[in-house]
Symmetry: C2
Subunit: 316 residues, 2 copies
């Protein structure tokens, strides 16, 4: 069983009342800079400031009323936690969120602000999983994984459907790659809607486990990566890896300085706030390791959640 375009279309219908239809922006300076025609799908302007809301929303609204009444749960301290909390609040059900006790308070506050019921745990994967498991057993809540979940993958694919409705003749779509949920959903949707479209992943050089997994033909786990792209530190999942192997043309790694330069350029010229994990997709074009000149390129800007007090181009 895998995710199909039909699943993605159903997800799009299901979540339509709850999400923003995000704009697709163009910018001449960016086009000149990278030598291509770039179409920015602005999921940074999505609710909770990231595409993650699409997948979480699809998962939450896929539940039967009986299932939903027991709530949903996940472990995350990032955008997915906020996404699950908000989707659950919209449906009027509890969201149990497991957060490591060393997570920045801004992240905890954001989840709490959307009504998420937080349980803190030690900052280890084991503690996160055992805490989540206890909550699931106690409450009967439905687990919504950040990426290794068909409902989530289908939800993430809905952004590409909208992008191709707006710009049907794209040659290439580039997305960031972390756990692989976004690029999985995107590639399934895009390759079915437009035959021959190329799907490329952007990944930080400093967290290049997906790049290495593709070379190795098996999942190489991410081991303590250090990148400013804090949304892209996860390893691939058992559901996402085979989709990526089948659909994704290649994964291109981007340096930290390339991400920072791309991020600042987009802020300055396109006047939108993107987070480093989004900048990695622009970074693929910026660093020109591969030749995409003259093509029509859709870029999934994944999110815009940034601490405005600590910008990566400023000294602190």
């Amino acid at each position: 069983m895998t995710v199909t375009l039909n699943d993605i279309h159903q997800a799009a219908q299901r979540i339509k009342p709850y999400i923003h239809r995000t704009p697709v922006l163009t910018n001449e300076s960016l086009n000149e800079q990278v030598g291509a025609q770039v179409f920015l799908k602005c999921e940074n302007l999505q609710k909770i400031g990231a595409f993650k809301f699409r997948g979480a929303c699809n998962a939450v609204y896929s539940l039967t009323d009986e299932e939903a009444a027991r709530g949903v749960c996940t472990h995350s301290s990032g955008n997915h936690a906020q996404a699950v909390a908000l989707a659950a609040r919209m449906r009027g059900i509890p969201a149990y969120i497991v957060i490591p006790n060393n997570a920045p308070s801004v992240k905890k506050n954001a989840v709490a602000g959307y009504g998420g019921l937080i349980t803190f745990c030690e900052p280890t994967l084991e503690a996160r999983e055992s805490t989540l498991d206890r909550i699931r057993l106690d409450t009967g809540a439905n687990v919504v994984h950040p990426f290794n979940d068909e409902r989530v993958i289908a939800g993430q694919g809905t952004a590409a459907v909208e992008l191709l409705e707006d710009i049907p003749d794209l040659d290439v779509i580039i997305t960031p790659i972390g756990g692989g949920g976004l690029i999985s959903g995107t590639s399934i949707a895009a390759m079915e809607i437009k035959k021959g479209i190329r799907v490329i992943g952007g990944e930080p050089e400093m967290a290049d486990d997906a790049f290495r997994s593709m070379k190795a033909g098996e999942i190489i786990p991410s081991t303590n990566p250090k990148s400013i792209a804090d949304g892209l530190l996860s390893s691939l999942g058992s559901l996402t890896f085979p989709i990526i192997q089948k659909n994704v043309e290649q994964i291109v790694t981007v340096s930290e300085t390339g991400m920072i330069a791309s991020m600042k350029f987009v802020w300055e010229r396109a006047k939108i706030i993107i987070e480093p994990s989004s900048a990695v997709a622009i970074g693929v074009l910026w660093e020109k390791k591969i030749d995409l000149s003259g093509l029509k390129i859709g870029v999934l800007l994944s999110g815009g959640n940034v601490d405005l007090e600590k910008l990566p181009w400023q000294n602190h």
Copy 2:
């Protein structure tokens, strides 16, 4: 002779191939914060990062070929200078821009980047006007004033036409007020398109010449105002003041701290970059000096040109 809705519709047709149709964004957090339904018309996402491109573009493309061949000229160091330079480059004609020799180099570079032919002058109004006059006499270039020009006022009004196409049932439109070009064009368009709509101006407390002019019934010039809203320091013009007197319900002044708080909130929650001059329009809602609760409110976000190295909420 004044500007009519027909002029604005003609301007909209004229500039359509050259401008961005900017999106209208909504944000639940902002709605909750201010207690109203807010629709953000994102002219910060316009070309050159500000609504000014609309008026400049309309002026440049209103010229006959013979007039255009002699070029256009203006004195400005702000968004209008960039707007005239870019519109002229698009039409393939020279743009002579007079800039005071103490203007920040980032502004000079931006104008030069759009191909503007810069003449520096002493930083006094007299020097700016005499330098511009000399250029006009030497070249025969057409003067495009930043706001006291019917073509510019008509161009600025096109943003309100688009906003009301997208959201026809607005109760109120709020715009920032500097020289008055934006609010003049906006009020003419909006009040003709939707009978009974209220048009309100936002102005910095520290640069409240329009507020005082409305009270006095005559133009009170702006005298050396100090506000972070560097786009709103001009005095009203002989064309804009009568339109504002006739159409604008009231001008609401906003504190510097209210502008900074509004600006940061929009960056954080809506993930778009707005300049302080835009934040003054949000500031009207933020500070709640007048009761607009529960209404559907269009806010013209005028621009997004900000020095990312010097953000007003950071200590330097």
